[in-house]
Chain length 455, copies 4
């Protein structure tokens, strides 16, 4: 595992204009594919009849002209999923579809419920059965139960939000309604777009871009938006008002640079973080390079601030997947040598600043530094555009256990030696406030500080 892993992307559309909803969801999923490559799915609602396709694999592998054509209807929900190690079963693919007392319910979920096990235990004690290990199924049960004594699905959802703790951005489809739901801390992003008379919900604003739709606004932490026929939108803010705790890593690594999340451009935040890194950890060098793809923007920022010219030092092969999809040691090793190659002619004889977004276990950085030196780099200074990871995440990021975290196991100088770097600098925690994030908002940096927003 070279990197942290995201936890899914969600998408939903309520169409009133006769759009091909399945095709729009399909297009939107491509824009969200970086949030999960294990499985994906689309469920459409044709006058309360559901059509669904979900399977393991990339969007380009699961969907084709033939099966997309079977997904008729004017409301739809879609999902891309990252799966934790070992959890690759088809049963866990989303969106999750169930029948309950009021017809069907379809749920696409991004996040992690802290009290899922307790809730599951309680439900099982009452006679409930579970067919997957998805936390989504727990939420589904709670909603179905709440719905037996509430007047509407939105009321049931608001009740359930009082019971579940943790990170969740969800899109929910009932026979006639589409709901967007974001947890009170807003750990994961969720935003609202519009195309003609049709509302769209998505994890990131890039999904609207590819659909040529308009970004309207972010769903507020704690907010539920209800979309009904004819483009009617109602907002419920019963759970709003707590201190937000958006995951900082959405800016550092998870989100696409062309997304704007809770009012901040991901790209700008990365450029600024690169600049801060140059300010706090300057060095004399000949060239700044980034570890592609995610390190590149930070490297540009570092170069702009430091005046050291940016250059390409590592070339990424575009015909392979992300490293973390590989699951055996052998596959991982082969993948590294295939995936990144040193641009020898541009590196030889130079003092290099190599900028990356984060360090998890340190193995990739170590390999890259060795490759650069083998290619003739005289010095390699490693700059990391985020503080060091020290604590586990309980809100949906798949961080290795503490004893595997590089920065937990070693002091900074030990790390530098281990990596073979000539110097090593992390973005200081206090610099996180200077990369353009909002003063009037809140961010979760528990993985750096160990101070958790919930529980």
């Amino acid at each position: 595992m070279r990197k942290l892993n995201e936890e899914c992307g969600v998408l939903g559309i309520y169409d009133n204009d006769g759009l091909n909803v399945a095709h729009y969801l399909y297009t939107g999923l491509f824009a969200l594919q970086h949030r999960g490559q294990q499985s994906c799915g689309i469920v459409t609602n044709n006058d309360a009849h559901l059509h669904q396709i979900k399977d393991k694999g990339l969007v380009s592998e699961v969907f084709n002209e033939q099966n997309l054509a079977t997904l008729t209807g004017n409301i739809g929900v879609a999902h891309v999923r990252y799966a934790k190690e070992g959890d690759t079963s088809r049963e866990n693919a989303q969106p999750l579809v169930s029948r309950y007392c009021k017809g069907s319910i379809t749920l696409a979920h991004n996040g992690s419920i802290l009290n899922a096990n307790e809730l599951r235990q309680e439900l099982e004690n009452g006679g409930a059965i579970f067919q997957s290990t998805n936390e989504t199924e727990v939420i589904m049960h709670l909603i179905a139960i709440a719905r037996t004594h509430t007047r509407s699905i939105e009321e049931a959802v608001l009740e359930v939000m009082g019971k579940i703790k943790g990170a969740y951005s969800m899109v929910l489809m009932s026979p006639r309604k589409l709901l967007g739901i974001r947890d009170p801390q807003g750990f994961r992003p969720l935003c609202l777009g519009k195309l003609g008379n049709d509302y769209i919900l998505a994890s990131e604003s890039v999904a609207f871009d590819v659909m040529h739709a308009q970004f309207i606004r972010d769903i507020e932490p704690g907010e539920v938006v209800l979309i009904e026929e004819g483009g009617k939108l109602t907002s419920f803010k019963n759970h709003c008002g707590q201190k937000p705790a958006l995951c900082v890593f959405e800016y550092v690594y998870f989100a696409r640079p062309d997304s704007v999340i809770d009012g901040v451009s991901v790209y700008s935040a990365r450029i600024e973080a690169g600049k801060q890194l140059a300010i706090t950890h300057p060095v004399e060098a000949d060239m700044v390079i980034g570890v592609p793809d995610s390190g590149t923007s930070f490297a540009h920022g570092y170069a702009l601030q430091s005046g050291i010219p940016f250059g390409d030092g590592l070339i990424r092969n575009r015909y392979t997947g992300r490293t973390f999809i590989k699951q055996t040691q052998a596959e991982r090793e082969m993948a590294v040598s295939i995936k990144l190659n040193v641009l020898k002619s541009n590196v030889a004889g130079k003092r290099i600043v190599m900028v990356d977004d984060s360090i998890v276990r340190g193995t990739t950085s170590k390999n890259l530094i060795k490759m650069l030196k083998d290619a003739g780099a005289t010095e390699v200074h490693l700059r990391i555009a985020s503080p060091a990871f020290l604590w586990p995440c309980y809100y949906g990021t798949d961080i290795p256990s503490r004893e595997h975290l590089f920065a937990v196991r070693y002091s900074q100088e030990e790390m530098r030696k281990q990596l073979g770097a000539d110097s090593l600098g992390f973005l200081p925690l206090e610099s996180l406030h200077k990369i353009g994030l909002r003063e009037d908002f809140g961010y979760c940096s528990a993985c750096f500080m160990g101070k958790y927003p919930v529980e």
Copy 2:
């Protein structure tokens, strides 16, 4: 739809001898494949950890050396499934696996629950969610609920049997137990076998044959057998004692001829039915032929009794599937012409008695009679080795709606004319008692008489 359709086959093994359970289940599924070709699955239990593979397709398509190897464990349950038209989703493949308050539960089901909709409604009103349209999921919910206030899974099952009505033969696996369950009327078969110290449960005894295991006995209607570690077997007969109502069509068409069901050889029953047909509907002719494969045994019986020589008149192409797998009209028509061919040289100039097991819509029989006459048969006398279908089945056989049943729409003489036969004879209802079935048992013939054993 040329024929009636079966509703699944079930299988279970509890091994104490170190057998490769998955391989035995795989082999056994081949022997039960005639009971369902839509999907199949195996679930194994390795010290309470479950491994499962299930998918659409034949046993030979779904399983291979690689995926079988992942199915470790010493208890296992397997299923082949026939699906009603339109219900081809992967979600409905069995065995159904759930987690509940006491760990996992795995269920393979053959049958049809009459009050499934009412029970589902009741469960939904209590907040339950359903992820498939399988009746099996309803049973699973009831067991999970019953288990919250009973001391064991077997107690829970016995309680649930008091609530569900209809046809069910099931194999159930809990973390440490294997159960065989048969409804009080015993509509569908279920029997017990043994291999060394290991008990096996199967829909039909042929499954034991291919495993080189021993047939022990049939599970009684209403009986629950519990198999535990070390080859311990306990029988619960709380629900026994009602009049059995085994489906007569198991003998006429569903079961394999080499199976022995509730003490009666399927093959013998077919030979005897053919003889009865010859007694009740004699005719002067040159040759008796069967409609392969299922009509052949009846034809042999007819030939033996009548003294008219048996001969082959229709040759079946072994490289195509059963007609009813085809789902569009175009596929069905092509399938007929590919599947059965007239043996012209043996038919020309002869008066033929053609014996088939049953008539559903009459289209196939009509085609075959025309083909025989085109090939030079001077007369074709159609003999049907079962009474005419007049009523729907509620116990797991997929009969078309009444208005499509040939014998409902037409009088016997109209049928004969429609079919182009020179004479037409059905096995009389009263002759069913003379084909070797047990005096001390009971059989369901609701589809012929409209007299239903339950409800």
Copy 3:
């Protein structure tokens, strides 16, 4: 290897009526599938533009609605292929398509060229390259070379027939012509059918049946028929007049019973062979059974002649392929136990005559006899409806090397003991003349006698 193996089936159509040629070829291939299950292919000719699909697998696996639709044109050639052990490469799938000096040439071949290696060597010495190990490619080269100095494709073919020795029944398609070619001894069958104004060529007449076409006649040994636009047919008999040597095993095992080959019904020949077996090897017994599927007709003949009633003793599972498709020992063993099951209730306590078509290695017969005795048969008398195999075949049948042939290694009494049979009888060589074959024709029985028609 339980059985001898066939060597392919060929098919060709020249349409003048606007038929969907690809669909007819597809349907016809199903009827010829028993002649080869390794790979199959269809090539169509749309105004001299070729479209082709060929791959490993059964007809039902290789073709589907989508790919069939791409096979446009009014002339077409098709092939099913049996492949010798180890030769499973896609490169060898047929029909073989080449471009040569006069455009394209497409060839579907059934047989075996005796001097293929010499011819290949000669061609290679002249600078030729070969992309497959198919003998068909050798023929293709020879035709292309002959075409450089002849005035027509038919002239070239007739010239090439003077060079190649052995067994070949072929269908050849040039940009505007369709040819049927049969070697001078006529080792393998080839016949002519008609549908409206369209001529059809096929290995066996069953292909015409499924197309609802008319059988016209067999192609004579040595004959070439040329089919051209508008239903024009020309026959070239330059190579006719030699003593025919049709493979006897076409009647014994290879062909479908509903085929009529060179004027003789395969089914009748089998019934007669069964009768001859009863005359030459009578025995006192209670029931005659056949080894399904191919032994059944012989058993019927034996029963008719002997007066011992026919019965079913072995039930074949229709959901598995032919044994010889399995290629490892483990697969073969599993396949046996899955494929044939003893009908215990019908066998117990009886003296059985078990009739099979032939014995290759003896392993299957031995297994079956043991299974019958285990099921309670008091005696098992094995009757083989062909003489014992003693010699290799050079004309397209894949017989194991001599040292593996059962009848070569053991005396008849040793064989009986090895098999565990109570008696053993082969059809005497002289009885082959009494099974209804033509007096005015010739047959190859080299595998029994070692007397080879060519070379």
Copy 4:
């Protein structure tokens, strides 16, 4: 078609050290995948026995652990292929394998033979047959013929080089030898690497990098290198000495930036071309952006020279293939909107210089300019890092017919208007000499000038 298309990559290894040759070829193919995504293949030679796998699809799709394990041997040849529109048949996948008079011959080819049709005609007139439409098959025939009167394969190859005209870089494997062959003009690259005692041949030096092998030198235009057992290498320069004509587009677009071709770093050439563009077509602007991925290096060069800061304006989705793989208009349109997204927050209100490598039809550039302006760019100045395409290529680049070339159909001012750009500048032809290419070498720029090096 947005871009020019490459024509394949070739690879070969002769191992003496016990390497897993198949695995090295597999790894190397990943590094060459950018040269062709239609099909790929590997052929290995185990003591003169060949093993091969080739199919349509990417390297990651065609090969897996299982099938790679079957590719044993110590010599091997591999290929990735770009296919011209419509030519997607599996038959044309390479390497091409044939048997000829001296055993087997395996050929992997990159290029285009100008007189292929004449040579093919001549061969066909002599009786040759062709099974593909690959020019490679023509070369194969010529070598087989030459081999009948030469003493070695290398002699045969040298003779054939006297007959074929055009572009070819090839790797050839005979039972005991591996040859690298480059045409006298050296249109396409080919280079030699070494790993321990093992020689490697590859289209681009990046293949050596991923194998951790050493780059030795380029194969000279006209040179043949012969690699034999024990690491013996012999060079034949019979056809050397003509004026080289390496395709300039290898630097502009085809090759990977981390490759060094004929002594020149592709990356440096691109940076220099960007600088030249800034010198010849300066403009006042706020930000320089590249069209990813291939335009980015040029943009860096432009930024360095002009002093205008580089920034990201277009974000590429890494989860889609290259546009030109899409083959229908609908797929192309969807692919554009999915593939590149504008980074609005970084573009709005700015005057943009957008740098791309080339313009073929102009449609993509037009779309991108519109997208940038819609996102708020106040000006978009398009800079193209190569001269305008005016002439067809006969040496292996798949350029559309002249009437579809943007620069042929319109004047520069018309182009600018059509594209909606505020200014438009192409790299002047004379600047091509200033991007660091070798004075002592020669380059083909026929597509810009219409002056063809051959014929």
